[in-house]
């Protein structure tokens, strides 16, 4: 049976893993390679490394960090942050990534999705969407807006519409981050996740707000997510994936266990 995935995310700045709350208030959480291996050994189904400051500082992804992290990592490994062209994506794949995640660059030039997919396959392209609910709107979920540049710039695009376009252009998965929930540990935005998941055929990874096993079960069951991503709850030893997955499985969600 196909299981739901628990993904450990490493937000990297200047070669170190950091953790923010609602995209600001950054604190240090450790070395990327070391944390990636620890997560994989602890049962994470997948590892994502996001170079969170790459786009707004206008520099390329930290290929050395990617290389070091990818060596001896035998679960799927995604890298995002600052990838603006198929050539830059190729360099990230060469360094050992299995998938790339593109965000701002896909919004400014949607053709990029297909360009990377044509060389490396659609499965290798994740379109990341940073979403904020439309406060004050009659339908804050349907009207939720896409933000770029690490959550700094609103785009005017509707989240659901952009997810549908990304799929049509050849995205293999959608990584949906709720900026409202990010770092709050109050649970994922299940309504928004469900709206996107029902709008597309490709897998949707929910992100932002994980605080407990119950939150994961909720986003899989009510939010119809195919995978869920979290960072801080793992880094500081609050839980490891194996413990988390056993609890999520008890709630009736298929999980890869033992892992």
């Amino acid at each position: 049976m196909l299981t739901k995935r628990i993904i450990a995310c490493l937000d990297v700045r200047g070669g170190r893993v950091v953790k923010g709350i609602q995209f600001v208030d950054i604190i240090d959480a450790g070395d990327p390679a070391e944390l990636a291996h620890r997560h994989a050994a602890a049962g994470a189904d997948e590892i994502v490394l996001l170079d969170i400051t790459a786009t707004h500082e206008g520099r390329g992804t930290l290929l050395e960090t990617v290389k070091r992290t990818a060596s001896q990592l035998f679960v799927p490994f995604t890298v995002g942050g600052g990838i603006r062209s198929a050539e830059e994506a190729a360099a990230v794949f060469d360094a050992g990534a299995d998938k790339v995640s593109i965000n701002s660059s896909a919004v400014s030039r949607p053709e990029l999705i297909g360009e990377i997919g044509s060389s490396f396959g659609a499965q290798a392209v994740i379109v990341a969407i940073d979403a904020r609910r439309a406060a004050g709107s009659a339908d804050p979920v349907r009207e939720a807006e896409v933000y770029v540049s690490g959550g700094r710039k609103p785009t005017g695009l509707r989240v659901v519409d952009w997810a549908i376009e990304a799929e049509a252009r050849g995205a293999g998965e959608i990584l949906l981050t709720s900026m409202d929930s990010d770092g709050m540990r109050n649970g994922f935005d299940c309504e928004l996740t469900r709206a996107v998941s029902e709008a597309v055929q490709i897998p949707v990874i929910a992100s932002g707000g994980a605080g407990s096993a119950a939150h994961f079960a909720e986003v899989f069951l009510a939010g119809k997510a195919d995978a869920a991503l979290a960072a801080s709850i793992f880094h500081f030893g609050v839980t490891d994936s194996r413990v988390l997955k056993a609890e999520v499985a008890r709630a009736g969600v298929p999980m890869r266990l033992p892992c």
Binding site: M1, D45, D94, I202
Partner: protein, 203 residues
């Protein structure tokens, strides 16, 4: 020497890295039929579109693989590399597969048993009905999880070594004598995947 065939279908880094991790130090990533013919083992990775396998024919690699298959060289196809071992795929009807195994690869149905079925099939799924005589899957327990990412799949047949359920059962691994294939990505399937690659290296 292990020949890893590069036909420009996706990224080979992870496969080569996993083989090296398991102790294979003499690896040649190649497009040359001669390298394939003189190799002790041959690996055909590949993700993406079935159309990409046309390059195998164009570079005379199809003929080289036929020869090594006949002379007993262990061969492992991964993902699209497994699909290519069949007669073809509805993904690219004009591109012929090797035809070593019977049947066509087809897309997952949009719905199964009344429920919508997402495609691609992405994630960790279990290997079932693991054939006891499989050399590739030696010591792999039925129910072990492996990582998949694909939209087309090979049918079940007499040579299926393990199946996986998603919109019905499909071939997760296939094996007849020295010719083998896995639809999943052993290089990304943690301990189980490394065990499969190790079994192959030890043939």
């Amino acid at each position: 020497m292990i020949a890893v065939i590069d036909y420009k279908a996706g990224n080979l880094t992870s496969v080569v890295k996993a083989l090296k991790f398991l102790g294979a130090d003499d690896i040649v990533v190649t497009q040359k039929p001669d390298d394939v013919l003189r190799a002790d083992k041959v690996v055909l990775p590949g993700v993406g579109h079935f159309q990409a396998t046309q390059l195998l024919e164009d570079l005379a690699l199809t003929q080289a693989v036929r020869e090594i298959a006949a002379k007993g060289t262990p061969f492992l196809g991964i993902c699209v590399g497994l699909q290519w071992l069949y007669e073809g795929s509805t993904e690219a009807p004009n591109t012929l597969g090797l035809g070593h195994f019977a049947g066509q690869c087809e897309r997952f149905p949009a719905a199964y048993e009344g429920a919508e079925l997402k495609s691609p099939h992405v994630g960790w799924n279990s290997l079932e009905d693991v054939r006891a005589d499989s050399r590739l899957l030696k010591d792999v327990t039925p129910g072990s999880f492996v990582y998949y990412t694909h939209s087309w799949r090979a049918p079940l047949g007499a040579d299926t070594a393990a199946s996986t359920m998603y919109g019905g059962a499909f071939t997760g691994a296939v094996e007849r004598d020295n010719v083998m294939g896995v639809q999943f990505h052993p290089e990304k399937s943690a301990e189980t995947g490394l065990k499969v690659l190790k079994n192959f290296l030890e043939l």
